[in-house]
């Protein structure tokens, strides 16, 4: 009963935001609303026990995605024309039909949170929840599944993030952009707002420290490489926002970032190759600990998560730099 009321309130907020995203035509506001959408979703994830997911959604959905949307809007038009009826009516019909079909299909799903649902009775569930303390030896089952049981899968995801970083770099990174954005009319933020500058300077070290905590505490609580990478990148993004892109580029030069992104993937893959050389299967961490399989698992997960963290950090910063570099319109000139 108690959570039912909370659920209803959160779902109401979510639906209102969704409808507003569909209706509002000022894209700047829509981008901010999509951030709120993610935040609210993350609340629901917390209620449904998915703390790691909520963590990621908070950092990625509410932070990175919104910043990227804003960055893209800076480079394009912010307002869209009204949708012609010829377009919206078929879309509405298609959406309604698909929705009706989905809801019809959902009637066959087991009830929400039912203890006898097939998911919870599958033998894999018992393996993950009961055997992982003896097989992997860390309390956060999400991390053990992510890094060890489904290590292949995660390796693939890291490669996708890396590839996306490279792709954006190819599309936006270099080459003469036709001058699209209007020249900045005002001073950069850091010159006009001393309060912001001081507070940012105070906070950034703690943000980076917090990212490291999230990275290395991921075995015991919510956290891990993906979340830590995004938080670390957010720290640098804050630096770039307040002190200008040039200053941030001096801290994290493109060459270093490109190197780090590759290093992360290589570290992950390298752990796999190392276990192969030690006579095990690819990513069979147990081999790393000499005779002690649990120690090997610990070391393997630590290294793999570190690889994920490094790759995600570098990729996220690269994404931001690519958009901001075009957006601020060659900041070296406009800052003066």
């Amino acid at each position: 009963m108690s959570t039912l009321l909370i659920d209803i309130a959160l779902f109401t907020i979510l639906t209102v935001i969704g409808l507003a995203i569909a209706r509002i035509r000022q894209l700047f506001a829509v981008a901010m609303l999509s951030g709120l959408f993610s935040l609210t979703c993350a609340c629901i994830f917390v209620l449904q026990d998915a703390v790691d997911v909520a963590f990621t959604e908070a950092a990625v959905g509410a932070g990175m995605t919104t910043v990227l949307f804003l960055g893209a809007l800076a480079l394009t038009r912010s307002r869209e024309e009204s949708t012609p009826r010829s377009r919206s009516l078929p879309a509405m019909l298609a959406a309604l039909a698909t929705g009706a079909l989905l809801i019809y299909a959902s009637l066959d799903l087991p009830g929400f949170a039912a203890a006898d649902a097939p998911v919870h009775r599958h033998p894999l569930t018992a393996r993950y929840l009961q055997d992982s303390p003896s097989e992997i030896g860390i309390p956060n089952v999400v991390t053990s599944v992510l890094a060890s049981y489904r290590g292949y899968d995660t390796f693939g995801e890291v490669v996708v993030v890396f590839t996306a970083g490279i792709a954006v770099l190819m599309l936006l990174g270099r080459g003469a952009a036709t001058s699209v954005s209007a020249p900045a009319r005002v001073q950069p933020l850091h010159q006009q707002n001393r309060v912001l500058r001081v507070v940012a300077k105070l906070l950034i070290p703690f943000i980076l420290l917090f990212a490291l905590y999230v990275q290395f505490h991921g075995d015991y609580g919510p956290g891990g490489g993906f979340q830590a990478g995004v938080i670390f990148a957010s720290g640098l993004i804050l630096y770039a926002l307040v002190f200008g892109l040039d200053a941030a580029r001096a801290v994290a030069p493109l060459a270093v970032l490109r190197g780090l992104a590759s290093l992360g993937v290589l570290l992950y893959g390298g752990v796999g190759v190392a276990t192969l050389l030690l006579g095990g299967a690819f990513l069979e961490y147990g081999r790393l600990g000499g005779g002690d399989a649990l120690a090997g698992q610990h070391l393997g997960i630590l290294l793999v998560e570190l690889g994920v963290g490094i790759c995600v950090t570098a990729a996220m910063i690269l994404l931001f730099f690519s958009f901001a570099g075009r957006g601020a319109g060659r900041p070296g000139k406009t800052d003066e």
Partner: protein
């Protein structure tokens, strides 16, 4: 124990009341600069009291440290954000609704 619980409840209640006041103000006040005041009530007093209330409930140290960190973080960031926001709005040509402007009408 019960006294602590009571104190915690009181703090939480006062905090929620302030948060609600701030939200109503955000909704009802006439223009941007006045709304900033309402928002800061939520961010400082409301959040502070609620976190203090939760602080009285926790038992282990790690949780308490986290709550304090959240409080510290909010106390740093929300006034800064409000300040930067108000300054940007001023530079953008928005003028605060003041008594003088009211009288001139």
């Amino acid at each position: 124990m019960t006294l602590l619980h009571l104190a915690s409840d009181l703090l939480l209640g006062a905090g929620v009341l302030l948060v609600l006041t701030g939200a109503v103000g955000l909704h009802r006040l006439p223009e941007f600069f006045t709304r900033t005041h309402a928002a800061s009530i939520t961010d400082s007093a409301g959040a502070g009291l609620m976190l203090a209330g939760m602080l009285l409930r926790v038992e282990d140290g790690g949780t308490a440290v986290r709550l304090l960190l959240i409080l510290l973080f909010l106390l740093f960031t929300s006034p800064t954000a409000s300040h930067a926001l108000a300054q940007a709005a001023l530079q953008d040509g928005m003028t605060p609704l003041s008594g003088a402007r009211e009288r001139a009408r």
